[in-house]
């Protein structure tokens, strides 16, 4: 019979076997739903981050500023226009920042900008926050005291849409005037002895100005308004105010010229590569001028769009690789489901296949007709799955909105065409591939046996071809073992103790054991029974990673965790899941025998006990696939659940110990005033007698456009330095030896240390050669103290290692600076004489900066000057779980990405006091800088009290500090005579609660993500149940005929599903807990078992099992026995 007849047979099979085909289509649809849904979720999340950042960029592609610092002028516009002939529009802008007070609300630093009222419309529109209509800004910015407010700032200042406008906004501008120097005693000008003219000097004052907010624009809506998150002036007005800084009052000042190559970037994003090319080309043709015999660019260009895209790629790369691993494992459940249902189809149809063969259909014909059938199923399943995936994706996106809020990181579901097409095609192919094996089996049925109803059983012994594959796999396994020490000389031989002590060696051990014993199992199964052969394989597959997690990591065998921890996690989870499923599957008959012998003692279910376990073990493959679905999904669920429980518990439990006495910290909106008789620290001691120690510190965060204060990750004077990828907006901090050491002289002076500040990565000379994860707190503290000795030692230099960080090639698998490093395999940088290059060290809490990497910090910079870069080596990173690193580097968890505070998110670089005087933000390098500071002008204070860590009294202390600092006309404000000062006092306990909340949000998201699989598993269970009952009609008829009551028929159907569900649950829980033991051992925290969540899963499985089994079981029990007995499939 030919192609047509195959199609006809397939068509008949499809139309006649409606329920069964429906279940196959449903299985494929679920698989595709899973793939589409997972992709939509990941894309949506990425898009949400990207969108929030791109909205801010508005239509600006490239920004021109003065190449040597300072301002541009109106005359530059024609020059710049000539440089970018392909630009769509150009716009001038003057931007800075200052304090703002509206009513009693105060913001210490608000972005302020002036733009021309007749700016080119290509840059987009402003929209009224209240009405949503396009605004003509010229009607609101009539004079230099009229400003517009962004809706984001309005929300921060407790202004809502119904607030009556105009309202007043008070701010300050620096005013510099040239005045005659006066004689302090006489009050008369001092005259120059030679010229007789008065001696002049600069007088710097802060001029307080009251402005009128005439309207509020929507800064969350795509358009030009989204680029301005603070206060907006007309360009002329802002030039008026900014010119106060210039003693000559020159108003022809432009901060930057903004270039756009297209309009409506939001709905039609610009091609990143094209923009990069334009940027690079532009950089080449920038005009130069000679300054001090050096060629310098007249203009500097930057593109925050390109920078942000790079950052987003980097941050999301980390996240998506983790999500993809989870997603992949969840998708496997979909594949298991489809295979299971397809396998049922063949078993179910052996009789018909026998008839077809008997009436003359060839093997090829059977094969073709089944393939056509699966093709139809694949196409329908793909289409339904697409719809399901879209719905699923939308629902998850909605959930994400509730999770992350609809603020600046608003979440819009993103459906990429390519993803959809790919997923559907994969679904269809998957449907067909999983149908291929059954089709092959069908085409090979023994006609006589099929007609007699004898079910086909697999050969008990493996074929020669299979054994050959086994041999190949064994060799592959041996290859991985040999990789340790023989092929890869950096690793140690497996027969040495040192060959078991690092992650990379274990990667090969896991892969080697996995492949070798899988191969051996296959080969052995040719000579001994399959069960015995594959029991060996499965025990090794499951046992090796469990041994690694529990023993090797638990008893400190693995001392070096550097390496691909993500890889090892993926490999270990896959091996654990396969091993456990295979082990249980192979021994299913024994387990079922035990189940039977237990149940058969219970009156009323003896018939069920006789039938249900036997049914399960008689369909070993199918039963195994069924519980495997749950085993995979629940392994992930329990892993995620227990991981989070462990983290949260360890965080709370360890916090008091880890805070090392610090109970709260205070941040001032500006550095404290330099008062003659007192200091903020002194005042703090006076507020509450419970305050026992106040550690003042200096911190600084560069503004979003303040590129001259960004850290360079590559030598800025080298030709391959690229400002787009080699500048990072990190924060700065100054640490003094008295803040850390107190009265102690050095590390050996144990008693007098003021603050136990733990380090994670350590500088040369302190760092042990291997990382001991089991090291005690005392050992870690001792190492940290010695690291601090190096930090404060002016003579100490550390070798710079050959580590570079480009945002384009960030090493995701190593998580940058997150991983503990020994630097053993990294080469030092050598100078032209071959000597190691050494620099002073800085410490950091940024995950972007790995140990040993050289960085360049801009010194002696001001708004008006070009930075002088000083190289440093990253000498260590803070232990973010313990004292020091903990209160200072929590910004990521509490602020997250939505706050838009990038420098807060990316971390801070800390250097010792002796470098402060080279900067104008910690010292006095440039007297003109408004950020200049005296030595004791702190802004951040770590405070110890006599109260316990979680005492509510600490909140009262915090409140007293805020009252003292933030109350109008009294306390600190009265002392300094300035209302523009705000303190934020945070107890570490409340900060901890906030970070737990953030962690919980992330967990909830991960849970939802892995619950995808659980839902699919549940629906899959229902599909399998319906199929089981449909296929076993005849058996049900037999049961009824020999006297099985209806309830026992139903119970048998139920029990089968429940047992398989529970087996999956038990495997999942056991595996999840073992993986978690591994995690806990890695992080050196105690394991916490999430009994609540496990209980929830137990209830879920019971509920689903009952629901999925009861309905088809009930239907089955209602079928008249005579009808059921006539059933032939």
């Amino acid at each position: 019979m030919g192609l047509i007849s195959s199609i006809k047979i397939a068509k008949r099979a499809l139309t006649r076997r409606k329920t069964k085909n429906f279940s196959a289509i449903l299985a494929i649809a679920l698989g595709v739903t899973l793939m589409v849904g997972i992709q939509i979720t990941t894309d949506t999340l990425e898009n949400a981050f990207l969108t929030s950042l791109l909205i801010r960029e508005g239509e600006v592609d490239i920004r021109f500023s003065n190449g040597t610092g300072g301002f541009l002028s109106a005359a530059d516009e024609s020059n710049i226009s000539a440089l970018v002939p392909d630009a769509l529009a150009i716009m001038s802008e003057l931007q800075s920042s200052g304090p703002a007070m509206i009513g009693s609300q105060f913001e210490p630093s608000v972005s302020m900008a002036g733009i021309p009222l007749d700016y080119n419309e290509a840059f987009g529109n402003f929209y009224d926050w209240d009405t949503g209509e396009v605004m003509d800004i010229s009607t609101y910015l009539a004079d230099n005291s009229s400003v517009l407010l962004s809706s984001s700032l309005a929300e921060d200042m407790d202004i809502n849409k119904s607030t009556e406008l105009p309202i007043n906004l008070t701010t300050e501008f620096t005013s510099i005037t040239i005045v005659p120097k006066l004689n302090e005693s006489t009050g008369f000008p001092i005259l120059n002895e030679t010229t007789g003219f008065p001696i002049l000097e600069l007088q710097i004052t802060e001029e307080r100005v009251i402005l009128s907010i005439t309207e509020i624009f929507d800064s969350r809506r795509p358009g030009i308004g989204a680029s301005y998150r603070g206060v907006l002036f007309s360009l002329d007005a802002y030039q008026d105010w900014m010119s106060l800084q210039d003693p000559l009052r020159n108003k022809d000042i432009i901060g930057a010229y903004l270039i756009t190559y297209q309009t409506d970037h939001f709905s039609t994003p610009i091609d990143e590569t094209v923009l990069q090319e334009k940027f690079d080309a532009l950089e080449e043709r920038l005009p130069v001028k000679m300054v001090n015999d050096q060629e310098v660019n007249v203009y500097a260009i930057d593109s925050s769009r390109l920078l942000y895209i790079g950052l987003i790629d980097l941050i999301f790369g980390l996240m998506s690789s983790f999500l993809n691993v989870l997603g992949l494992l969840i998708i496997i459940t979909g594949i298991l489901l489809i295979t299971n249902v397809q396998l049922m189809s063949v078993e179910d149809r052996e009789f018909q296949t026998g008839v077809l063969r008997a009436v003359g259909e060839k093997r090829g014909g059977i094969f073709r007709s089944m393939l056509f059938e699966t093709l139809f199923q694949g196409i329908f399943g793909g289409i339904f799955g697409l719809v399901g995936g879209l719905i699923f994706g939308q629902l998850v996106a909605l959930y994400l909105v509730s999770l992350f809020g609809s603020g600046s990181a608003s979440v819009q579901p993103l459906v990429k065409e390519s993803v959809v097409i790919f997923s559907v095609i994969v679904g269809v192919i998957l449907g067909m591939l999983t149908g291929l094996l059954p089709a092959l089996r069908a085409s090979r049925v023994n006609i006589v046996e099929a007609l007699r109803g004898i079910k086909i059983t697999f050969e008990e012994k493996s074929s020669r071809n299979l054994a050959f594959i086994g041999v190949l796999l064994s060799f592959l396994g041996i290859f991985f073992f040999l990789n340790n020490g023989i092929i890869n000389r950096n690793l140690q031989y497996i027969w040495l103790t040192s060959g078991w002590d690092n992650i990379s060696e274990w990667e090969n051990i896991l892969l080697g054991a996995g492949f070798l014993f899988t191969g051996l199992g296959i080969v052995l199964s040719r000579y001994i029974s399959r069960t015995k052969a594959f029991n060996l394989t499965s025990i090794v597959l499951w046992g090796t990673p469990v041994f690694m997690f529990v023993v090797a990591m638990g008893s400190g065998w693995i001392t070096d965790m550097s390496g691909s921890s993500l890889n090892i996690l993926i490999i270990a989870i896959i091996e654990i899941v396969i091993g456990s499923v295979m082990l249980v599957g192979m021994n299913l008959p024994y387990i079922m025998r035990f189940l039977r012998s237990t149940l058969i003692k219970i009156p009323g279910v003896k018939g069920v006990a006789q039938v249900a376990p036997a049914l399960i073990s008689s369909h070993k493959t199918r039963s195994t696939l069924t519980f495997a679905i749950f085993a995979v999904v629940l392994t992930l669920n329990v892993t995620v659940a227990s991981l989070v429980a462990t983290n949260i518990d360890s965080t709370v439990g360890q916090s008091e110990e880890d805070s090392r006495g610090i109970d709260l910290y205070v941040q001032l909106s500006d550095p404290e005033y330099n008062l003659a008789n007192t200091s903020y620290t002194t005042e703090l001691y006076r507020i509450d007698s419970a305050i026992t120690d106040v550690i003042g510190m200096k911190t600084f965060k560069p503004g979003s456009t303040d590129y001259t204060r960004y850290v360079a990750t590559k030598n800025p004077f080298s030709p391959d330095f690229n400002p787009q990828s080699n500048l990072l907006p990190l924060g700065f901090g100054e640490l003094r030896s008295d803040q850390i050491l107190g009265d102690a002289q050095n590390a050996t002076d144990d008693e007098d240390w003021r603050f136990d500040f733990y380090m994670y990565n350590l500088p040369d000379g302190v760092r042990p050669t291997s990382i001991d994860l089991g090291a005690s707190d005392e050992v870690l503290l001792d190492q940290s103290k010695r690291a601090w000795d190096k930090f404060f030692d002016p003579e100490y230099r550390m070798t710079a290692y050959n580590i570079t960080l480009d945002l384009e090639n960030f090493d995701i698998s190593n998580f940058g600076g997150f991983t503990a490093s020994t630097l053993e395999e990294v080469d030092p940088i050598l100078d032209i004489n071959g000597s190691e290059v050494q620099y002073p060290i800085v410490f950091t809490d940024s995950f972007l900066l790995p140990l040993g990497m050289p960085i360049w910090i801009p010194f002696n910079t001001s708004q008006f000057g070009f930075p002088v870069y000083q190289p440093f080596t990253i000498g260590g990173s803070f232990d973010s779980d313990r004292a020091g690193g903990w209160p200072l580097s929590r910004s990521m968890q509490t602020e997250g990405f939505s706050s838009g505070s990038f420098s807060g998110t990316l971390g801070t670089v800390y250097f010792p006091e002796r470098f402060s005087s080279y900067t104008d933000f910690f010292g006095m390098a440039d007297e003109l800088s408004p950020d200049k500071r005296e030595p004791d002008q702190f802004d951040t204070y770590l405070i110890k009290t006599t109260y316990p860590f979680d005492s509510p009294a600490i909140e009262d202390v915090a409140q007293s500090i805020e009252d003292f600092t933030n109350t109008k006309d009294s306390g600190y404000r009265k002392l300094i005579g300035d209302e523009f000062m705000v303190a934020t006092a945070t107890s570490l306990y409340s900060k901890l609660e906030a970070s737990l909340e953030m962690m919980e949000q992330m967990t909830n998201f991960l849970q939802i993500y892995v619950n995808f699989g659980l839902i699919i598993g549940a629906v899959g269970m229902a599909v399998i149940s319906v199929r089981n009952v449909a296929e076993r009609k005849r058996e049900i008829g037999m049961m009824r005929a020999i006297g099985f009551p209806r309830y026992q028929v139903m119970t048998a159907a139920l029990l089968e599903l429940m047992v398989l569900g529970f087996i999956g649950l038990i495997i999942g829980v056991v595996n999840g807990l073992f993986v978690n033991v591994g995690f806990s051992n890695m992080l050196d925290v105690p394991v916490v078992i999430p009994w609540g969540t496990i209980g929830a899963y137990l209830s879920f499985i019971t509920f689903i099992g009952l629901l999925a089994g009861a309905i088809p079981g009930w239907v089955a029990s209602r079928i008249p026995a005579a009808e059921a007995l006539r059933y032939v499939g």
Partner: protein, 241 residues
């Protein structure tokens, strides 16, 4: 009314009707008013062309299907009036089934198939197992106790099916073409076995068959045409030469 002799009536059928797809265009009137009496210890054969309603009648007697009218009395109990649960229990305790395709559970061994009805009656599993073994040994299956049905020949499978039907010592054994799937030698063995049990235990046999030779081994033969009993032949029948 067709009846055999004067001893105790164990099965009495009055005006039995069965319609499939009732009220629909494709309605089939399979049984059109059957009246029948069977005495305890009788061995009766039902013969007739395909589609005449033989199997349907058997299913009605065993309550594997619901009838559309009429009454069935087994051991003087109007089984129609029993609830579904009671009918199931009644079937389990009083009726044994033997099918043409044996209908053994493929996933249970021979002895497990046989012991299942006893377990349903609530027997201790050890006792049930012992009884099943004894019965299978009696039927010459002592060396095949733990074989799965797939590993047994047709005759052996039918012996297991017979053992399963007999294990609860039912009053009536219903056989639907019990030798239909067997060769003539095995068929002879099986029918001889039935006759032996019938004589020994005084158990009533109702056998549906196409095979005249098998039917003649019974006490009498009921002939059916188009859902009705057309006539009855009383035995003994002459031995085949």
């Amino acid at each position: 009314m067709f009846h055999s002799n004067d001893s105790e009536v164990i099965l009495k059928i009055e005006g039995l009707h069965k319609r499939y797809n009732e009220g629909k265009s494709n309605e089939v009137h399979a049984l059109r008013g059957i009246d029948l009496e069977v005495k305890k210890g009788d061995m009766m054969a039902i013969m007739g062309p395909s589609g005449c309603g033989k199997t349907t009648l058997l299913n009605m007697i065993g309550h594997l299907d619901k009838n559309s009218g009429g009454e069935i009395h087994i051991s003087k109990i109007d089984t129609n009036k029993l609830s579904d649960g009671q009918q199931t229990a009644f079937r389990r305790d009083n009726i044994g089934f033997i099918f043409q395709l044996f209908n053994l559970f493929p996933f249970l061994s021979a002895v497990e198939n046989v012991e299942t009805p006893l377990l349903l009656q609530g027997y201790n599993s050890g006792i049930a197992r012992e009884q099943a073994k004894m019965l299978l040994r009696d039927l010459g299956m002592g060396d095949r106790l733990y074989h799965s049905p797939m590993e047994l020949s047709g005759g052996q499978q039918q012996r297991v099916a017979v053992a399963r039907a007999l294990i609860t010592d039912p009053a009536i054994i219903l056989g639907d073409e019990p030798t239909g799937d067997l060769d003539s030698t095995t068929s002879a063995e099986v029918i001889t076995l039935f006759r032996r049990i019938n004589k020994m235990n005084k158990q009533t046999f109702v056998l549906v068959t196409h095979n005249r030779w098998i039917a003649e081994k019974c006490d009498y033969i009921v002939h059916m045409i188009d859902g009705k009993i057309s006539n009855m032949e009383m035995g003994p029948f002459k031995e085949e030469k």
